[in-house]
């Protein structure tokens, strides 16, 4: 089980995946907006999305869980 965390504090702008989706290693799964920049969140691992912890528009702190893969 792998957890994708945000590397930067900001607002969840877009989430491209939902529970059950398959993701590849290197695939962009979400975009966090911070400092007016779009920060792509990329999965380092392949897997299936188990949980999406946040919704678009949520504030998120650096290092917090965004998406869990199984």
């Amino acid at each position: 089980m792998e957890v994708i965390r945000t590397p930067i504090t900001g607002t969840v702008w877009k989430i491209h995946v939902k529970a059950g989706d398959e993701v590849k290693a290197g695939e962009e799964v979400a975009i966090v907006e911070s400092m007016k920049m779009e920060i792509p969140i990329v999965s380092d691992y392949p897997g299936n999305v188990k949980t999406v912890f946040r919704e678009e528009g949520d504030f998120i702190n650096e290092g917090e869980d965004l998406i869990e893969l199984d």
């Binding site: 590397p7 930067i8 911070s34 007016k36």
Partner: protein, 512 residues
């Protein structure tokens, strides 16, 4: 036995290092014998060796566990210190320390680079009175390193452990190359941590190569094996002069890694939308010579790129924001990484090129608690004090103190260039309009708000237009991406006669 035979026999025994089982253990870990490492590192092998017979009278301590001497790298004479891990795990006794001190003194007298090939378990506790506390005890090694720093290049290749006090050897070198799986550095071993503070962790977690090269920033270059480590050290030396009074060697003019006619232009790479990421390496490849990128701390704080390179044969240090990682925002680690690299280049006459696309320093409680202000100050101070030729190129945005940290016009760069895509401001249009007109926006009826915001953003953008800044001579020249390499070549050529002293004072009170 003749005198001659006796000498040969003794020297041959010393050259074999420690007992067979230690050699065997090294082999199992894919570690080379120290003399083999030196053979690979040096053009023609060891040329002079001092203290070979150190501790010859003692049993089982050939060369007292360290080889010191001189040889050549790319025909430049260098000094070296190389631990022999087959001799009591490369531990330091009294003569080990004295040998290290003497070769450091030699490097200073001769003003030539010094390489540390580290593979050592640390002090021999049984010898501590003779090697630890005194005037020529181990402390002197670090004192000498600090004195040598900025005089001659000091390179550390870490093949094995660098433990406890010994962990400061890499810390005081200019660059630290670590082999994955074998290299480690830590003040207290996992066994000691368990005893003293009750923490249970693996050696890799405590001080492994990958951790240090990606998390702590104590390592600069992570490699997979010893041959690669040695090759990296040799490559690094091609960018360095012998000492601070000399210039790095210039090569013949080369082609850029990617010639524009064959691929996308710089303008093609940079997205129209200031907020969208792009890969700064793609831009770098279009201005530097082919195969000339030598990156330092590639895995640590990758939102900034720090790399040695060549532009038309001339060595140039690049400090570039990387918008594809964390938006290229500056964090405490980003600032530390850049500050360190800038001082390295400035020490050895390596001109600096800043490629700017920076939304600013990170804000929020998280980074304030980490002391982003004092970390950021380190970068600004290092850049400000650097007297080598400095060119800043505003590639895209340069917002807030990000402009300052990246050699903005106030910090005496030799020139500030801008691409047509550049935008310089205290903050971006979105943030600025909110900051200035928040009350006004709130007072407007909802249906009118968006139109008002758009109008103000447009006005703001016109106000920070790059030609307006050029018109006010804030930037010295606006250059097309296509001409950037050529422009940089000419300007670095022109600036070679720069000879500036920043100040006559003793030293600044460093922001740390």
């Amino acid at each position: 036995m003749t005198w001659e035979e006796d000498l040969r026999r003794k020297a041959a025994r010393i050259a074999q290092g420690g007992p067979h089982n230690y050699h065997q253990r090294n082999k199992e870990k894919n570690k080379l014998f120290v003399r083999e490492r030196l053979r690979l590192l040096l053009d023609h092998g060891i040329e002079t060796e001092d203290g070979k017979f150190a501790n010859e009278a003692a049993e089982g301590l050939p060369a007292d566990g360290v080889i010191t001497g001189t040889g050549k790298i790319h025909e430049q004479t260098v000094c070296f210190i190389a631990n022999d891990s087959t001799v009591k795990a490369g531990s330091w006794g009294a003569h080990t320390v004295e040998k290290m001190i003497r070769i450091q003194e030699k490097a200073e007298r001769l003003q030539i680079p010094l390489l540390y090939l580290v593979d050592s378990a640390g002090a021999r506790i049984t010898d501590q009175i003779d090697m630890f506390p005194g005037r020529r005890g181990a402390g002197r090694i670090f004192h000498n390193q600090i004195k040598l720093s900025g005089q001659v290049p000091q390179v550390c290749i870490l093949f094995g452990p660098s433990a406890a006090g010994g962990a400061y050897i890499p810390a005081f070198c200019d660059i630290v190359i670590m082999t994955e799986g074998n290299a480690s550095m830590y003040l207290g071993s996992p066994r000691m941590a368990e005893m003293v503070i009750g923490e249970r962790v693996s050696l890799e977690e405590m001080g492994g190569a990958k951790m240090h090269c990606s998390v702590s920033g104590c390592g600069d270059i992570l490699v997979q094996n010893e041959e690669e480590a040695i090759q990296k050290a040799r490559d690094y030396m091609t960018y360095m002069p012998a000492n601070y009074t000399k210039q790095p060697k210039k090569c013949g003019a080369q082609h850029p890694a990617i010639a524009t006619p064959r691929g996308k232009t710089i303008e093609d790479i940079i997205p129209q939308n200031q907020n969208s990421p792009f890969n700064m390496y793609e831009l770098i490849e279009r201005i530097i010579d082919e195969d000339s990128l030598f990156e330092i701390k590639a895995l640590f704080a990758p939102e900034i790129i720090t790399a040695l390179s060549r532009i038309n044969g001339r060595v140039v240090g690049i400090v570039a924001n990387q918008p594809s990682v964390k938006g290229g925002v500056l964090f405490p680690d980003t600032a530390d990484k850049a500050a360190r690299f800038i001082t390295l280049c400035d020490a050895f006459h390596i001109p600096l090129l800043f490629l700017v696309d920076v939304p600013g320093f990170m804000i929020g409680t998280h980074v304030e608690k980490q002391g982003i202000i004092r970390h950021g100050a380190k970068m600004v101070a290092a850049m400000s004090e650097a007297t080598v030729p400095k060119i800043s190129v505003i590639v895209r945005k340069a917002y807030g103190a990000g402009l300052y940290a990246m050699a903005g016009p106030a910090f005496e760069p030799d020139c500030c260039l801008a691409l047509p895509t550049a935008q310089v401001a205290v903050m971006g249009p979105e943030a600025a309009v909110n900051a200035v007109y928040a009350k006004k926006i709130a007072s407007l009826p909802e249906e009118k708000r968006q139109a008002f915001i758009e109008k103000k953003r447009k006005e703001y953008k016109e106000n920070i237009d790059i030609y307006r800044l050029a018109s006010e001579m804030i930037v010295d020249e606006v250059v097309s991406g296509e001409r950037l390499r050529e422009e940089l070549t000419s300007r670095f050529n022109v600036y070679t006669t720069k000879n500036v002293t920043f100040s006559q004072r003793k030293h600044p009170v460093y922001p740390v």
